[in-house]
């Protein structure tokens, strides 16, 4: 049948595998041309730096040292990194922050998604209210919460009658960072989960209700399993942005007090732009990429579903 259709109707290869006509070949070539700018630009800003980092990580590339520039040093940068207690501490902090923030923020985002999913008067207002924190720059969310937690200018101490200097203690600093991060990120995760909720057919709920299932049973047995693909995407997204947290740390604490809130990204930035050590920084960057791949892989494997399209 496909062979009898006029050539123009056969392109796209959706109807089986039509013989490749001139039109298809021309379309394919044009298709690659249309994709080329996007691919070239993205390779230039991701793959190229990755390769450059790999190269640097095996060389001495410290701009502040005149001698030994560009020499091959083998895995020295890596052994230095694995033995550095600063790096190990930053790694541990980053993992702990990512783990805790993923758990809490995903649960809260799920609640928000269920709220946004319901039809009710004022839904538009709720949508605008939660979209604005997502849309503002991280600089705004970080500066805003820095003001909030400030003892003299903020409302946290004022309203709750506390006298805490939040950003000078370790745990209070992490609390402030977490609040600023959660406030900005939860809306976006909620939107991802909302898009998962929207494709669950309503008839299923109707049937569950007729069978007398309680709200919790419905949620536990129907909503959660059907939401799994969306949850996987949300978890990967959240985990990666948690592992890469930089802006909020830079603005709110600058890694302090001491080094107590220094994360991997912040350490990486310091190594590149303060120490101007691009060899050691390259090694840290490479490990950061590996860590992200591992995290995404683990979540993807844990959340695998057989019927994922």
């Amino acid at each position: 049948m496909a062979t009898e259709a006029p050539p123009a109707l056969r392109f796209g290869g959706r109807h089986g595998r039509p013989p490749v006509s001139g039109r298809v070949r021309a379309d394919r070539r044009l298709g690659y041309l249309m994709l080329a700018p996007a691919i070239v630009l993205l390779l230039a800003v991701t793959a190229y730096p990755l390769v450059y980092n790999l190269w640097n990580s095996f060389h001495a590339e410290n701009l502040s040292e005149i001698t030994g520039q560009g020499g091959w040093v083998g895995v020295d940068n890596y052994t230095r990194m694995f033995r550095s207690s600063e790096w190990l501490h930053a790694l541990w902090r980053t993992l702990a922050f990512a783990g805790v923030s993923v758990a809490i923020e995903t649960v809260l985002a799920l609640g928000l998604a269920l709220m946004l999913h319901r039809r009710f008067r004022g839904r538009g207002l709720l949508r605008v209210a939660v979209l604005i924190p997502w849309a503002v720059p991280t600089v705004v969310s970080a500066t805003l919460w820095k003001t909030m937690f400030d003892q003299r200018s903020g409302f946290v101490d004022y309203i709750f009658g506390l006298h805490t200097t939040w950003l000078s203690g370790i745990w209070t600093s992490w609390t402030a960072i977490f609040v600023a991060d959660a406030w900005k990120n939860i809306p976006f995760i909620a939107l991802i989960l909302l898009s998962g909720l929207q494709v669950i057919p309503t008839e299923i709920y109707e049937a569950a209700r007729i069978d007398g299932a309680s709200w919790w049973q419905t949620f536990r047995r129907l909503t959660l399993p059907l939401l799994k693909p969306a949850l996987a995407v949300a978890l990967i997204f959240r985990l990666l942005s948690g592992l890469l947290i930089f802006d909020v740390v830079y603005i709110m604490t600058g890694g302090g007090p001491g080094l107590s809130t220094e994360t991997l990204s912040f350490l990486n930035w310091q190594t590149f732009l303060v120490d101007t050590d691009f060899g050691y920084g390259g090694a840290i960057s490479v490990m950061l990429v590996v860590l992200c791949l591992l995290a995404a892989g683990i979540v993807g494997w844990l959340m695998r579903t057989r019927d994922l399209r």
Partner: protein
């Protein structure tokens, strides 16, 4: 109600005993009240910090020095615009704003063109390995920003492009291109192919069909992608703080962070005035395009 009477069939056997209709109605009202209360709390948490920022930005330097409380409570007794004039007249906050607008605007423009082409190709063209290409584009969006900063710093340094806003336009594509391409691909897949096929049968070339037939239909999708791209480019801090040095070359987010430094006392009114100003364009975009943004971010993800 009709569904409930229908439930008295065989399916209702396993149904637990329910209390009478009156207490059920009370239960429902309580549940509604709780729901709206929760909505109210969420809206408060989302928006109250903005009120506080606005409030702080309208205080005088003196009032900020006195701290919160007394006449400077939740609703301060005296308001003044002095922090705003300080930001614009003394700190030159207008220049970073213009820089940010230029960079975000041009990034958005490039994103729209490049992502429309790529999204269309992925949705419609008989390309081999379209899935893998899409996967690469999406993965690129998750690439650690800080792992890009070092090498790009060296490249820009060697090219003499450090401390300039122009390279940022290209660098910011890593934020905008993945999501815009994905969004437009989904959008094109939802448009029936009949239109362009008719144009092609009539002898139009692909590109003419794309420009005359597809793009007009796709305007809402392109618009949504543009808004999201602008927001993402407007929001960058990591690249700006790594590549820019001269205050007159700063983007607005970077300028805000530097406003608070170099002073003995932190003038939160000045910082927060800048925060208010930089938030306004984003808030306006969200206000006027919330439906589009939500639809864009959720459309086709799990269909």
């Amino acid at each position: 109600m009709s569904t409930e009477s229908a439930a008295t069939g065989p399916l209702a056997v396993s149904r637990p005993h329910r209390p009478g209709t009156r207490s059920r109605r009370v239960q429902r009202i309580v549940r509604e009240v709780c729901f709206y209360l929760a909505v109210l709390i969420v809206i408060l948490i989302a928006l109250f910090p903005f009120y506080w920022i606005l409030r702080t930005s309208l205080l005088s330097d003196q009032a900020v020095g006195q701290g919160v409380g007394g006449p400077n409570g939740i609703i301060p007794a005296h308001l003044t615009g002095s922090a705003y004039s300080e930001d614009f007249n003394q700190q030159g906050f207008l220049t970073p704003l213009i820089n940010s607008a230029i960079v975000a605007g041009l990034t958005t423009l490039i994103t729209i063109v490049v992502a429309t082409l790529a999204g269309y190709a992925l949705a419609r063209m008989p390309i081999r390995g379209a899935g893998a290409i899409l996967a690469f584009i999406l993965v690129a969006g998750f690439f650690p920003v800080l792992a890009m900063v070092g090498p790009l710093f060296l490249v820009l340094r060697n090219l003499g492009f450090l401390d300039s806003i122009w390279p940022l336009i290209i660098v910011y594509l890593v934020y905008t291109l993945p999501i815009a391409t994905y969004l437009l691909r989904n959008f094109f897949m939802q448009i029936p192919a009949d239109l362009e096929e008719a144009a092609l049968v009539d002898g139009a070339t692909r590109l003419v069909a794309l420009r005359r037939v597809v793009v007009p239909v796709a305007i809402p999708g392109v618009f949504t992608a543009g808004i999201i791209a602008f927001i993402l480019a407007w929001n960058d801090f990591a690249f700006a703080v790594s590549f820019l040095e001269t205050p007159s070359h700063f983007t607005a987010p970077l300028a805000i962070v530097n406003l608070g430094q170099s002073q003995f006392q932190v003038f939160y009114n000045r910082i927060d005035a800048a925060v208010v100003i930089i938030t306004i364009p984003v808030a306006l975009l969200v206000l006027f395009a919330q439906r589009r943004i939500v639809a864009g971010l959720t459309a086709g993800s799990f269909r």
